[in-house]
């Protein structure tokens, strides 16, 4: 039965992946893959080059921007195009190739959550249940196989890194986390958790070595294509650093700014809002969120000698993730995947002591996603009108105001849920201590 359900999850993914995509993100991947495969600079794609290509994607946006990631994903999209161009039977093959990596990322993450739960509980039934909870989760399926986002790949590297750390292989663990960061920079927030853990177990020298390994891996892997293809370092750095300059949007209470701008454009003009979001304390609010997350972990580590190391690290991951999600001004929906360790953390809970957890998280995230972008728009590759209809409703008053209001309410509910989860974890720790 277990294997059948896994096969079912895989089948659903394969059925969905070749004809769906996020109208903006997936279109960017399609074009970046095409242009980089043709020899363009991954970090130098400018409007004239990222123009829509007949037969690939849809011309719903005449031009799109480049990627804001380290080179890994851009290179993969180029590889996907190269493979497709060997046998260019249909662009759907190219879309399939683009989704193949996130689908494999889902599988890898699933297996690692299986191992994590088995290590944490020693119960094979719970391990299988958690595996299915993750793999069959509609939100996970949506992000990887419909949207085309690849966060499940770096996500797979983080538990792998955790397991290696627990198996007393700090170098391999650093290498693993470094690769995760190279694919998408988000797991960088877990480095201090690893460092604090290693510092308590093996001393400061091991912690520093691990830290250095983790940081060097993405640095070297980024420099290799820059040197090899003659891409400019400054452009790569600008692409990455610009991620610190995001205004309030998507799955965060900060998206109130969009609603206010929509309702009162004179008072909450874009200039005023930009001024707010570029103010140092707002722009780097997430730093405070992370500091709090690390301090909570440090306290937990100091006071809970009886706690299993795996549970300790998982909670550390969650403290850092929740701290980050509650404070950063720009939270794309796919960041929710980094809350998946909740599945394992709550595996040991008795059914009678049901807590706010993963199911509430993904249901709210999915609700938000469908308010932000209605489901049919993901089929824009089949018919671009599915996007045009949505964009008319989404950006025309008064419908836009309703949408922005619903987004804000859902995002606030989501953030309150995170606060609730965090306080439950902290309280539980207080009780056990």
């Amino acid at each position: 039965m277990f294997k059948r359900l896994i096969l079912l999850g895989l089948l659903v993914r394969l059925v969905l992946c070749s004809w769906t995509g996020h109208p903006w993100d997936f279109e960017v991947f399609i074009r970046v893959g095409y242009y980089v495969a043709k020899g363009s600079n991954l970090f130098g794609i400018f409007p004239a080059e990222s123009y829509h290509n007949e037969g690939l994607g849809q011309p719903i946006f005449p031009y799109v921007t480049g990627l804001g990631y380290l080179p890994a994903w851009g290179l993969y999209t180029a590889l996907a195009y190269k493979i497709y161009s060997l046998l260019p039977v249909s662009p759907y093959l190219y879309y399939f190739m683009l989704k193949l990596a996130p689908t494999l990322g889902d599988l890898a993450s699933t297996y690692l959550f299986y191992l994590l739960t088995l290590t944490a509980t020693g119960d094979i039934k719970k391990a299988r249940l958690n595996t299915l909870t993750f793999f069959l989760c509609p939100f996970i399926i949506l992000v990887s196989s419909v949207w085309g986002m690849f966060d499940s790949i770096p996500l797979a590297f983080t538990p792998a890194s955790m397991l290696l750390l627990l198996s007393d292989k700090p170098f391999l663990s650093g290498l693993c986390l470094g690769i995760g960061i190279y694919i998408k920079i988000v797991p960088i927030i877990y480095i201090p958790i690893h460092a604090l853990y290693l510092n308590s177990k093996k001393g400061v020298k091991e912690a520093l070595t691990h830290l250095l390994t983790t940081l060097l891996v993405p640095f070297i892997l980024t420099m290799v294509p820059l040197v090899l293809f003659g891409w400019e370092t400054s452009k790569a750095a600008i692409t990455i650093f610009s991620q610190t300059q995001k205004t309030g949007e998507v799955l965060t209470y900060w998206n109130l700014s969009v609603l206010l701008n929509d309702l009162f454009p004179e008072t909450f003009s874009r200039e005023t809002l930009n001024e707010v979001f570029s103010f140092p304390l707002v722009r780097y609010f997430w730093v405070l969120g992370l500091i709090v997350g690390y301090l909570l972990y440090h306290k937990l580590q100091r006071n809970s000698s009886e706690l299993h190391d795996l549970n300790l690290l998982l909670k550390g991951y969650l403290f850092a993730t929740i701290g980050f999600l509650l404070t950063r001004t720009f939270i794309p929906e796919q960041f929710v995947l980094y809350l998946a360790p909740l599945i394992v953390v709550q595996a040991g809970n008795l059914p009678s002591k049901r807590t706010w957890g993963w199911m509430h998280v993904w249901v709210l995230a999915l609700t938000f996603t469908f308010i932000n972008l209605y489901p049919f728009a993901f089929a824009y590759l089949v018919n671009p009108n599915l996007w045009y209809i949505f964009s008319y409703w989404a950006f025309t008053k008064p419908y836009s105001s309703v949408r922005y209001f619903a987004r804000f309410i859902t995002a606030v509910a989501f953030d309150l849920l995170l606060v609730k989860i965090l306080s439950e974890m902290v309280e539980k720790h207080g009780e056990s201590a």
């Binding site: 946006f61 949007e249 969009v258 001024e275 140092p280 304390l281 301090l295 720009f330």
Partner: protein, 385 residues
């Protein structure tokens, strides 16, 4: 509210907030220092070079308060020094109020003085800067002469092209095919012909984004020339422009020339100017378009390009006709951007002053017998320091 206050009274919470604020300040300082190194100029993105004066004042005041706060906390927690307050007398209260009023007026006074002293009109250069009208112009209008007054005769002087007035400075202003993306509806993005208070004619380009974060937007105008313009040895593109910086360093403006080569191949040359420092060259995939990214244009910048030379360097072929001109302005679409062009001209000759090719906005010149010889463009007023 009481809960929040109690939370903030917690010593650990206070230290966390102090560390956070000081950490951001350290990031700012380090980013600014590294950005001074040419190869690491991209670090400026981590700093706060784009925040307004008011935000900067508030931010620096916050940092100062944090330092005082940290000193107080350390004094109390490590050195056990505590400030014990007693009920002040009426006289003391009055003195404190007077002191505060005096302090406030002093701060306002210093602020006003700083403001006035830093105004352009406070520049001592104004005393010796002056507009000069032309003294003589050649019959064909190619060369204009200016005489510097005897009393201010100097062998060396500095011109400021951004404050000078030219005749016929814009050779490509007409409505062609407008294209746009990521713009706000309602005509907030536009091109218009403006006149400055001192009579300078300029193209004002406005881009007003629709607020979509992460999307590049633009507003552009493409003019297809009805009669192709012959490109000769000295045909020159002359640009004098300024771009208002965006909030997130994504603003740009460009001028693109479509040209026919001697063997009838269609090629394009694009000159693009950003608000951040980018110097680069890019080819399109088919190598029929070359784009030059020429640094930051948040202050007035002046460029002139010999079209034939640039074309040959770019495509190893000779240009024959100019067939189209395109220009535009853009940014990430949650911005409002303005670009002003004081000179946007295809000229038969390059701009020279006293025989020297002009290469910047404020060229230093050597006036011979108090005479400035200005050629390539007809100038109506020259600003000389």
């Amino acid at each position: 509210m009481v809960k929040v206050l109690n939370f903030l009274k917690n010593k650990r919470v206070q230290y966390v907030v102090i560390v956070w604020i000081l950490l951001i300040k350290v990031v700012e300082i380090v980013a600014e220092l590294l950005a001074n190194i040419e190869l690491l100029s991209f670090f400026e993105l981590l700093g706060f070079g784009n925040i307004s004066t008011l935000s900067r004042i508030i931010w620096n005041a916050l940092v100062a308060i944090t330092i005082v706060w940290l000193t107080y906390r350390l004094a109390k927690d490590i050195f056990q020094i505590s400030l014990k307050t007693r009920q002040p007398s009426k006289m003391e209260l009055l003195s404190i109020v007077l002191l505060l009023v005096w302090l406030a007026s002093f701060v306002i006074g210093v602020f006003q003085f700083t403001l006035v002293a830093s105004l352009p009109s406070a520049s001592p250069q104004l005393e010796i800067s002056k507009y000069y009208p032309p003294y003589n112009t050649t019959n064909n209008g190619l060369i204009t002469y200016f005489i510097i007054n005897e009393t201010e005769r100097e062998a060396y002087a500095t011109l400021d092209l951004s404050k000078s007035v030219f005749s016929d400075p814009l050779s490509f202003y007409e409505i062609g095919e407008i294209s746009m993306f990521g713009t706000e509806n309602g005509g907030l993005s536009y091109f218009s012909l403006e006149s400055s208070p001192i009579g300078q004619e300029m193209i004002e380009m406005k881009f007003f984004g629709n607020g979509t974060n992460g999307l590049d937007g633009w507003f552009a105008n493409k003019i297809v020339l009805e009669k192709p313009l012959q490109v000769n040895e000295s045909t020159t593109l002359i640009l004098l422009l300024k771009l208002d910086p965006s909030s997130d360093n994504t603003a740009w403006t460009y001028v693109k020339l479509d040209l026919l080569s001697a063997d009838n191949g269609e090629y394009s040359l694009t000159w693009k100017f950003h608000d951040k420092q980018i110097n680069s060259m890019l080819y399109s995939n088919d190598r029929k378009m070359k784009m030059y990214l020429l640094g930051s244009a948040v202050e007035w910048v002046f460029f002139q390009f010999n079209i034939k030379n640039v074309f040959y360097t770019s495509f190893s072929s000779y240009p024959q006709f100019l067939i189209g001109i395109e220009y535009g302005v853009g940014a990430e679409a949650d911005n409002a951007i303005t670009a002003n062009y004081l000179l946007a001209r295809i000229s038969d000759y390059p701009l020279k002053v006293c025989g020297d090719l002009v290469e910047c906005v404020k060229p230093k010149i050597k006036a011979e017998n108090s005479r400035i010889c200005f050629e390539g463009i007809t100038a109506l007023k020259l600003w000389v320091t």
